[in-house]
């Protein structure tokens, strides 16, 4: 299935990403305050979104793997974790690069930045824990517990960090009354979709490798 879905996902990702980038980098007008600097949003916001989506995917897959004892679900979690860590890292780096000209500093101890950083550490902790076990299956299950506890803790972390006075702008995307002109908005939404497809594509590729690595003794693998 992964083999059949991958070309479609690649195509969809490339088309959406091309459309989003053209729309974001050429067609959208420069912001009246930030000039062209705001265009980094087209990478930053989708990465930040994905960093959270991936953790949710991991938590759900972990729960499925623990409850129904499906080994495949653990493979999904293991395959998704490095991708999620990468998205989190990209979101932090692009945010820092944007922050330097706009806020005058690379880093502030603001609510969203801090919770994103903690999310990155959670990813690192998960990866470190899973790889610390000599036995794959034990590592998977221990990591699954950590992923679930982390997913329960994340909203609390987010809420607690928000308790500080925050410098980060409020949510730009709301269900009603977006303060953003349509010409700037549609490339952003397209880029979000593109990043989601990109994640699905990467996940398929990594999942295939992960399954092959795990089942390398099985007969069907030998045939390939």
């Amino acid at each position: 299935m992964a083999g059949r879905a991958t070309p479609w996902l690649i195509g969809l990702t490339l088309v959406l990403m091309a459309a989003g980038l053209v729309g974001g980098l050429w067609l959208a007008p420069p912001d009246y305050q930030m000039g062209d600097g705001f265009r980094i949003i087209y990478i930053h916001v989708p990465s930040a979104l994905l960093s959270m989506v991936v953790f949710a995917v991991m938590a759900v897959a972990s729960a499925v793997g623990l409850i129904w004892r499906i080994r495949m679900a653990h493979a999904v979690t293991a395959a998704a974790a490095p991708i999620g860590a990468a998205f989190t890292f990209i979101a932090l780096v692009t945010g820092a690069l944007w922050g330097k000209p706009m806020w005058g500093t690379y880093w502030v101890w603001d609510a969203r930045l801090t919770s994103e950083l903690i999310l990155l550490f959670l990813y690192f902790g998960y990866l470190a824990l899973v790889h610390a076990f000599p036995d794959r299956r034990t590592g998977d299950q221990a990591g699954a517990i950590l992923a679930i506890v982390g997913a329960v803790d994340l909203p609390i972390i987010h809420f607690s960090v928000q308790w500080w006075t925050t410098l980060h702008q409020g949510a730009t995307l709301k269900l009603s009354g977006t303060p953003m002109p349509v010409s700037m908005l549609w490339p952003l939404l397209v880029m979000m979709l593109a990043f989601l497809c990109y994640f699905a594509w990467l996940l398929m590729v990594r999942l295939r490798a992960e399954i092959l690595r795990r089942e390398y003794r099985a007969r069907w693998v030998e045939k390939i």
């Binding site: 959670l122 470190a128 824990l129 517990i145 679930i148 506890v149 809420f159 308790w163």
Partner: protein, 220 residues
């Protein structure tokens, strides 16, 4: 069984006082370093003190909890617990409570002494001690989970703090800020309610998760 396990924990700590007291000694020694490293000036230390005390209490708490199941794992009594027909969750709760009584409670009391030495005003001291009394058990429970997940691993000592710290951020924020609120003369009720809520959540969920973690480690 709960009471017996609790007694065993306390008895073990009593027989080997060096191990049980290490977190408290660490807490006292580290807090002595801040006036030496920063400044002995009361006016500068006072606003920093609650946050410093919280951070040191955090580190001290982590020091002890990561090896919670280590000795039991080594001498086989962990296996006894796992095989026993009684609920493992309850046994873990007993161990966590015993550990907190032996290490957490002394730190809460020691914090009052350290706060006095760092010139914390009396009305803040009450908020600080109350916050620590609510916050350190959560930390112990998180540490219980992590030490259950890492028991038997060689890298456990390095791994445990990496796993505990991000998870325990909310405790630090609300705890340290409750003391800061008291210092600014504002109401601390909201922070305490949130801390108590987190403690209840941790009490109800984390022992069960730790039990699952121990069973997974045991099956391997």
């Amino acid at each position: 069984m709960f009471i017996e396990l609790l007694r065993r924990e306390c008895l073990l700590a009593w027989r080997r006082p060096g191990e049980a007291l290490t977190p408290l000694v660490f807490f006292l020694v580290t807090s002595m370093l801040f006036p030496l490293g920063l400044t002995p000036d009361p006016d500068l230390l006072r606003p920093l003190a609650p946050g410093l005390i919280w951070v040191i209490a955090f580190l001290a708490g982590m020091l002890g909890v990561q090896g919670l199941f280590r000795a039991d794992y080594d001498d086989g009594s962990l296996e006894q617990l796992l095989l026993s027909p009684r609920p493992l969750t309850l046994a873990i709760l007993a161990k966590a409570l015993g550990h907190w009584l032996v290490t957490g409670l002394p730190i809460v009391c020691g914090a009052a002494l350290v706060a006095e030495m760092l010139f914390v005003p009396p009305h803040v001291l009450a908020a600080l001690v109350a916050g620590l009394a609510l916050g350190t058990p959560i930390l112990t429970l998180l540490g219980t989970l992590v030490s259950a997940l890492t028991v038997g691993l060689r890298q456990a000592a390095v791994l445990a703090p990496v796993l505990i710290l991000p998870l325990s951020v909310p405790v630090l924020i609300f705890g340290a800020h409750s003391a800061l609120l008291a210092m600014h003369g504002q109401s601390t009720a909201r922070a305490f309610v949130v801390l108590a809520g987190m403690l209840i959540l941790a009490l109800s969920l984390l022992p069960a998760a730790a039990a699952l973690g121990l069973r997974i480690g045991h099956e391997a």
